[in-house]
Symmetry: C2
Subunit: 234 residues, 2 copies
DNA sequence: CGCTCTTTTGATCGGAGTCAAAGTCGGTGG
DNA sequence: CCACCGACTTTGACTCCGATCAAAAGAGCG
């Protein structure tokens, strides 16, 4: 069942990019956005694969992606999510290495492909933009380091609570307090760094503590403050 | 017992910095290196503390630092080490946030302080340098993501083997195959993300398997290939 | 030379992983 | 529209890795 999607124009793409990176001129934005480098991808489509040589990066116009690494025994570890306004894959472009992560669509997404050559050219010609990119990389670095500490020191329960809180903050709740991001138990486990069954047991526990409700894959958050409290190991 | 150290000149500092960042002119290097912003710090001295507002970053002229976060219950998680030629603390400067890590001296070190204003000025005036900094941040980001996956998926034994291998590659061995970096069992535990006792038990195990020897804090590596093998969970 | 920090070893306990099996949901095609 | 299939979820039982607590031995330093 193909959905009928109206694809955005280049101007719309450029406008959205301009909201994430404020130091680019209209001319520079126009260079980035031309028609044949935009793509609509449905859930579970791969954007790029770990180990592949990607020559550019992707700007998320809409939708949600997961960025993950495949560890020993093929188990995936989700590193982060990318949503509207985010840039994925630039690390590999900058370092001219093969991708060290994979990216897959979680919520149907519209992506703009940005060739690496154009990106590096912009960095070198516009140092304000370069500064914005440094900031972006440093922000991700800070988050990665934080999560490294959490995963090394907190219990699974604390981490799961934290992950749910983060997802709520990043993607929000609908009018019924149901999380906007669609995520399987297995994916939750792959963020938290635990087994699927452990996530399920803890979610049951949260349910019996009236912290949340679930019907299938839909999670309704009832007591977010309690989750925040749990996430901060006492 | 104060050691007698001959401190390097600004020219020497600038030269070493130029080896790490190749796109700076001599003039630009001279701006970075003036006399009163250099410091000699002994083992266990704090360079900066998590939560403090640092207005600049530090260039490691010599010695070794550990960069760590303090997690719940005060347990430290070592994020990385910095050695000769590395730059620490620039993340906070770039993002203009309080430091989200602490840095402490492991091997007596000579550090050059680089005011944030000068760093950002250089980034904005020299986009090639900006590009080098982006690369640096992206490199650290890639490493952090890798380690995140390892810590989430590998066993303590695998991670300890990996950490030891990394330390050997980064800091080398002396003529007796003894590791150049001085590190306590507790610090090893704080990299691996485990308890001190677990590290001790595993090192005993490695000793009985003739993979390494230890006398006090000195570790002699006998069978590095075996360590590499262990680190790659089968 | 004594004090403190670090290392080592032993014993115990519990969190979380694994395996197995049943139940549920959603989508597809007849 | 309904039946079926595969993917996802749930629950139970069991095991074990690794954390914690305790106590002794060793090393480094003033």
């Amino acid at each position: 069942m193909k959905k009928d999607i109206t694809l955005p124009s280049c101007e719309q793409g450029a406008r959205k990019f301009g909201m994430s990176f404020k130091k680019l001129s209209q001319d520079e934005l126009n260079i980035l956005f031309f028609n044949n480098n935009m793509d609509y991808l449905e859930r579970s489509k791969i954007v790029y694969n770990e180990g592949s040589r990607i020559k550019g990066c992707f700007f998320v116009y809409s939708g949600i992606l997961k960025v993950y690494k495949t560890g020993a025994e093929g188990k995936e570890q989700i590193i982060r999510f990318a949503k509207e306004g985010d840039l994925v894959g630039f690390r590999s472009v900058i370092n001219q290495e093969v991708a060290c992560t994979s990216a897959k669509v979680i919520n149907d997404a519209i992506l703009w492909y940005i060739p690496g050559s154009i990106l590096t050219q912009l960095i070198k010609s516009n140092s304000e933009f370069a500064f914005e990119l440094i900031k972006l990389a440093c922000k991700e670095l800070g988050e990665s380091n934080c999560y490294l500490t959490d995963i090394a020191q907190k219990t699974v329960k604390e981490r799961l609570a934290e992950v749910i809180v983060n997802l709520v903050e990043d993607f929000g709740l609908d009018q019924n307090s149901i999380m906007n991001i669609t995520i399987t138990r297995e994916e939750l486990a792959n963020i938290v760094g635990t087994a699927t069954e452990s996530v399920i047991r803890l979610i049951s526990e949260f349910k019996s503590e009236k912290i949340l409700e679930s019907r299938g894959r839909r999670l309704r958050i009832i007591d977010k403050p309690k989750l925040v409290e749990i996430s901060k190991s006492f």
